[in-house]
């Protein structure tokens, strides 16, 4: 028999629905209690997330290997030929090496620009089932990390600190649909607004429709007042395609971010910007094409030429 409901049940539903609407209203009006609840929960969860990260890392590495099986097949073949003991040691150190490489990249980038940074490990990646792109790092206000600070990887922009807790911080990735940043094109200095799209691809909207933009152009952060939320000169990505539709009000372009957000292990939070704008100093060098050896054959006079031979003609009777 179908449930028809009674007055008590209906009242309960109405009370709970009103309660949730009340909570939404309170939160949207910026009531501090609601923010305090989330902050308290995150503060309590941070040690558990750190422990979880430590426990899950072998499984995560395994899953990563499975999903990238095609790409790592050649590497795996080489590793198989190596000594068993060396291979085991290499696998154990793989995670640490990757993080060290990322850390070196971040420090190189920050050092070139003169940024003062705080390094942090990524302890959790936000669930994309909520249609957001975030990650949690293990540095918070106790390390000098505050909201609206730029976050870098060795390749360029990662995102911006959205919330800072005592021992952790939530970073909104540049790929987040709500993320927007003022960008300029290296060299030509044209400016525009870059928006995240939920993937590694962003969309750049140029402010001046008469300017020219080309595929392969590098994008840098324009920077904000006092360097927050964005310090100037941070590499963002490169233009992959340009939409030059005639009659369009603004010119748009697809941009591929330099940073691969799914493989981040170590990042750096810029706590203090450079004293001078680094301008185009951080634009990554374009990959040089590998020269292909060409073989040219010259005919030398000493070569033996084939002697023409007489072809017998058939007799016609």
């Amino acid at each position: 028999m179908r449930y028809g409901g009674d007055n008590r049940g209906r009242l309960l539903i109405i009370v709970l629905l009103v309660t949730s609407l009340f909570l939404i209203t309170l939160d949207l009006r910026g009531v501090q209690v609601i923010d305090g609840l989330r902050t308290g929960t995150q503060t309590a969860l941070t040690p558990i997330q750190k422990a979880g990260s430590w426990v899950v890392s072998p499984v995560r590495n395994f899953l990563s290997d499975v999903t990238h099986l095609g790409r790592t097949r050649n590497q795996m073949e080489k590793l198989k030929s190596e000594n068993e003991k060396l291979r085991l040691a290499l696998q154990n150190r793989q995670t640490a090496d990757a993080q060290l490489k990322q850390l070196k990249g971040v420090l190189n980038l920050a050092g070139t620009a003169g940024y003062k940074v705080v390094n942090a490990k990524v302890i959790s990646q936000g669930s994309s089932t909520s249609f957001t792109q975030t990650l949690t790092i293990d540095a918070g206000t106790s390390s000098g990390v505050h909201t609206n600070m730029t976050v870098l990887s060795g390749y360029g922009l990662v995102g911006v600190v959205k919330y800072a807790y005592p021992n952790s911080a939530l970073v909104q990735l540049a790929s987040d649909p709500a993320f927007k940043i003022g960008a300029r094109i290296a060299g030509s200095q044209q400016i525009g607004i870059l928006s995240g799209q939920g993937t590694r691809k962003g969309v750049l909207q140029l402010l001046d429709n008469t300017t020219q933009i080309r595929k392969g152009d590098a994008l840098l952060a324009r920077g904000s007042q006092n360097g927050r939320p964005f310090v100037p000169g941070v590499p963002i990505g490169e233009v992959t395609s340009v939409d030059n539709s005639p009659g369009a009000v603004t010119q748009t372009a697809d941009v591929k971010f330099y940073t691969n957000f799914s493989t981040l292990g170590v990042v750096a939070v810029v706590v203090s910007g450079a004293s001078a704008d680094p301008r185009d100093a951080l634009v990554p060098p374009k990959p040089r094409p590998t020269p292909l050896p060409t073989v040219t054959i010259y005919a030398s006079p000493s070569a033996v030429e084939p002697t023409p031979t007489a072809t017998p003609t058939p007799k016609i009777k």
């Binding site: 179908r2 449930y3 409901g5 008590r8 049940g9 309960l12 539903i13 709970l16 629905l17 309660t19 949730s20 609407l21 009340f22 909570l23 939404i24 209203t25 309170l26 939160d27 949207l28 609601i34 609840l37 989330r38 929960t41 995150q42 969860l45 558990i48 997330q49 422990a51 979880g52 990260s53 426990v55 899950v56 890392s57 499984v59 995560r60 899953l63 990563s64 999903t67 302890i123 959790s124 990646q125 936000g126 669930s127 994309s128 089932t129 909520s130 249609f131 957001t132 975030t134 949690t136 919330y163 939530l170 987040d176 649909p177 709500a178 995240g196 799209q197 939920g198 993937t199 799914s262």
Partner: protein, 173 residues
């Protein structure tokens, strides 16, 4: 009586919440990953009366709103889950064709997860949130359906066991 029993079930949801925040979000699973708390709440609601379903939605929604990765205001997931859990409990209550058959429950929960996320998205749009590209939204919804269809049969027996021990043996599958 029901409310007391519901309160007994709260530690289960809290443990699932901790698992979701500390372990599952670390896995970086493809296609958006798993929202375990949402799946458990909907299965729990499918096995319960509509009143318990509503309370389950309220409790699980509050926990999901407390998550730092929740983009919306506090109460956003709560509102969605109250409606979703009530709908699932209402559909299943008194119909042994649904509640007695695990395949039906898995199907119902999979549809419920996708529907709940779609409603969450629409509500978010109404509250002024950005949702990104349409293809990405479709990809995440399809991924959620896929993972729910994989995970639900694996955990259904365990949830049914706890549910039966708290609310009585009739709901055990």
């Amino acid at each position: 009586m029901s409310l007391r029993r519901f309160l007994i079930s709260f530690p289960i949801f809290f443990i699932v919440f901790l698992l979701q925040e500390a372990v599952i979000t670390q896995m970086r699973l493809p296609a958006g990953g798993i929202n375990l708390l949402l799946i458990v709440a909907l299965i729990w609601a499918a096995l319960s009366t509509p009143e318990i379903g509503v309370l389950t939605g309220f409790g699980a929604g509050l926990l999901m709103d407390l998550s730092q990765t929740s983009p919306g205001p506090m109460g956003h997931w709560t509102l969605v889950l109250i409606v979703a859990c009530y709908a699932i409990a209402f559909l299943g209550y008194g119909d042994d064709n649904i509640r007695g058959n695990p395949i039906n429950i898995v199907f119902l929960v999979t549809i419920g997860v996708v529907a709940a996320q779609a409603v969450f998205l629409v509500l978010g749009l109404m509250l002024g949130q950005e949702i990104g590209s349409f293809t990405n939204v479709l990809f995440v919804l399809a991924g959620s359906a896929f993972w729910t269809a994989i995970i639900s049969p694996l955990i259904l027996k365990v949830i049914s066991f706890f549910h039966a021990n708290i609310f009585g043996m009739r709901t055990r599958i």
